[in-house]
Amino acid sequence: MKYSITVTLKKDVLDPQGKVVENTLKNMGLNSLKSVRQGKYFEIEVEEKNEKVADKEVTQMCEKLLANLIIEDYKINKL
């Protein structure tokens, strides 16, 4: 099974990289821009055939390593 995972900083955590990208886009004249938050993207493939077990394992991967839950949120999508 294949999953995609995005990890982003929580709303109340300052994202200086996102801010710089936002300012640059605005400086380029892209005026409709409201805000930018930068994150990380992972594609993960697991051997497990049982969907529930696989889902659980991927959740563990996110919580134990891929995201730092103090500052980051994660979203899991099935591909």
Binding site: V13, L65, N68, I70, I71
Partner: protein, 226 residues
């Protein structure tokens, strides 16, 4: 006293800290991250550097290495643990210290000597310093912007768990004397039992007048005389 310095791929302050420890009469051993046992240690140091090239997050990969479960066991039985710079980042990733270190607010790698103030000098790490003593210590990091949850910040204040704060040469703690955006200018913290210290500044670089100053020495002399 026996000390161990943990070495990861990408550690680059491991030799500096070993020199500092040996000069202060510690019997030091270097420990590779893949080792599964620790030598008998009164002090374990996680040195600065860029373990695993800072992949994923600073300290995230090193925080899951084999030796870490031994470090956690030692910490729980009261062994002193010192994490400097990347070592501080690793300690937060293992959960031994709460909070985390975000990218510097100005997005720049900062390498310079800064002033820090000793906030709590009643610990095994800081007893040879005076309370509110101002030190000049080098920092060299990209992710030193300490952040933690509101309730933990309250605990840090209430339990006197803040070790050092960034300040100016007169000791003023404010935004102007904050190099990296760290919450409340925090440069170093203890765990609740005060046997673990994580700090971004590098005391091991401040032990010799020839190359810098000697403001770091008292951290090691506090530890050796504990």
């Amino acid at each position: 006293m026996n000390s161990s310095v943990i070495v990861f791929p990408g550690s680059n302050c491991d030799r500096d800290i070993a020199v500092a420890l040996e000069r202060m009469q510690f019997k030091n051993k270097m420990v590779w991250h893949k080792d599964t046992t620790l030598p008998k240690s009164d002090l374990i140091v996680i040195p600065g550097g860029f373990s695993y090239g800072d992949y994923l997050r600073s300290g995230a990969i090193a925080g899951k290495s084999l030796i870490v479960s031994e470090i956690i066991k030692a910490a729980n039985s009261g062994c002193l643990i010192l994490g400097i710079c990347n070592g501080f980042q690793i300690l937060t990733e293992t959960g031994l210290l709460k909070g985390t270190l975000l990218r510097n607010k100005n997005l720049k790698f900062i390498s310079k000597d800064v002033n820090i103030k000793v906030i709590n000098n009643e610990t095994k790490f800081t007893s040879k310093y005076n309370s509110n003593q101002i030190l000049k210590i080098n920092i060299a990091h990209n992710e030193g912007n300490y952040f933690t949850k509101e309730n933990h910040l309250e605990e840090l204040n209430k339990e006197n768990l803040i070790a050092f704060k960034y300040c100016d040469e007169k000791g003023v703690v404010n935004d102007r004397s904050n190099p990296n955006g760290a919450l409340k200018n925090i440069a170093g913290i203890f765990n609740a039992k005060k046997n673990i210290l994580g700090m971004m500044p590098h005391p091991e670089r401040m032990i010799d007048k020839m190359i810098s100053n000697t403001d770091g020495i008292n951290l090691f002399s506090s530890l050796i005389s504990k």
